[in-house]
Symmetry: C2
Subunit: 172 residues, 2 copies
DNA sequence: CGTCTCGTTGAGAGTTTTCAATGTAAGTGG
DNA sequence: CCACTTACATTGAAAACTCTCAACGAGACG
């Protein structure tokens, strides 16, 4: 059964699932809770890559697939529970159950479209436009995630995001 | 045979493969040449999304998959020849030949990692850092593609890219 | 109550864009 | 082949945007 490939894991808020430099051994399905994938630059600033909550998959895909050291950290923003599959079992699963190839093909297909959209927003828009677009396309992120992390996700300073919100509010 | 699902097409330089607003009917394998995927904002400025040359796949994936109107334009930077598969045949192919699901799963997996990297570069780095990173990770783009398009690909003004290059050259 | 984290605000510094002008190379038609 | 046009790259100066730094405020938690 498919279920036998997965093992459960619980994470407390702030607990690491993965730290930069380790090899990411698992692809994780978020059954409950909220996690973030991010990296840290030379100055110590964090840059959010992905948020994952109920129903999402989370991992450092490059590390998981290539077995190179991870460039990302993953930790829990809220208490979370996961279903994890190892790289070897991921191979087995997709080989033994061809429909899983299809499942992941479609999953990655859709992730690619989403990522593409975020990338285009990032290179095309001003800080305020990016925030407004996020508000439209992904309000759950703004509702659920601390503002300094949202700012980092948009690639802007937290102070800039604060000012953008003030300006939008005053325009009503 | 797999080959029966594909039809060939030739494109002259500057010729459109797809225009914004149309539904993208095909997923295209670039057999030869060079194409670009980009959109155009209200001011008329173009923003490069993807460059595709020999061995790459090109399409407006969202439109191709959802049958919604394309937000991207695709045209040829150099004379090109393509192998195209329709949406219906893409479905048939992946259903009849499970290894194609696997092929595309792995293709999208890798694209996702690449896109992720570009996105993180975009939100974490300055204009100069982005250029230097591109120089390291994708020199072919810089060698083969006009500079105003490279600038757009990096999300910076062409003038800024010109100045960055001057500064880098003077530091030798 | 004190501490810690996170968000807000202001002012100045730094980066990038915009606009306009100039330079340069390539392509076209006579 | 040359003159002309067009597209693209470079440069300068000013404007716009965003960041940085520092201070302050509010809420959570022990």
């Amino acid at each position: 059964m498919i279920g036998t490939f997965f093992v459960g894991k619980r994470l407390r808020k702030k607990q690491y699932l993965l730290q930069e430099g380790e090899v990411c051994r698992h692809l994780c399905f978020v059954a409950d809770g909220l996690l973030r994938t991010y990296n840290v630059d030379e100055k110590g600033d964090e840059h959010m890559s992905v948020f994952g909550w109920e129903g999402w998959w989370i991992s450092d895909f490059n590390s998981f697939l290539s077995l190179e050291p991870a460039v990302f950290n993953i930790d829990a923003i809220e208490d979370s529970s996961l279903l994890m599959i190892s790289r070897a079992d991921y191979e087995k699963l997709t080989l033994q159950v061809p429909i899983m190839d299809r499942y992941f093909r479609i999953l990655f297909q859709n992730s690619l479209v989403t990522k593409e959209r975020r990338l285009m927003s990032s290179i095309t828009h001003t800080a305020a436009q990016k925030y407004i677009q996020l508000l439209g396309s992904n309000p759950e992120i703004i509702a659920r995630i601390p503002q300094n992390m949202v700012a980092s996700y948009l690639g802007i300073a937290p102070e800039t995001l604060s000012r953008i919100k003030r300006n939008l509010a005053s325009k009503r």
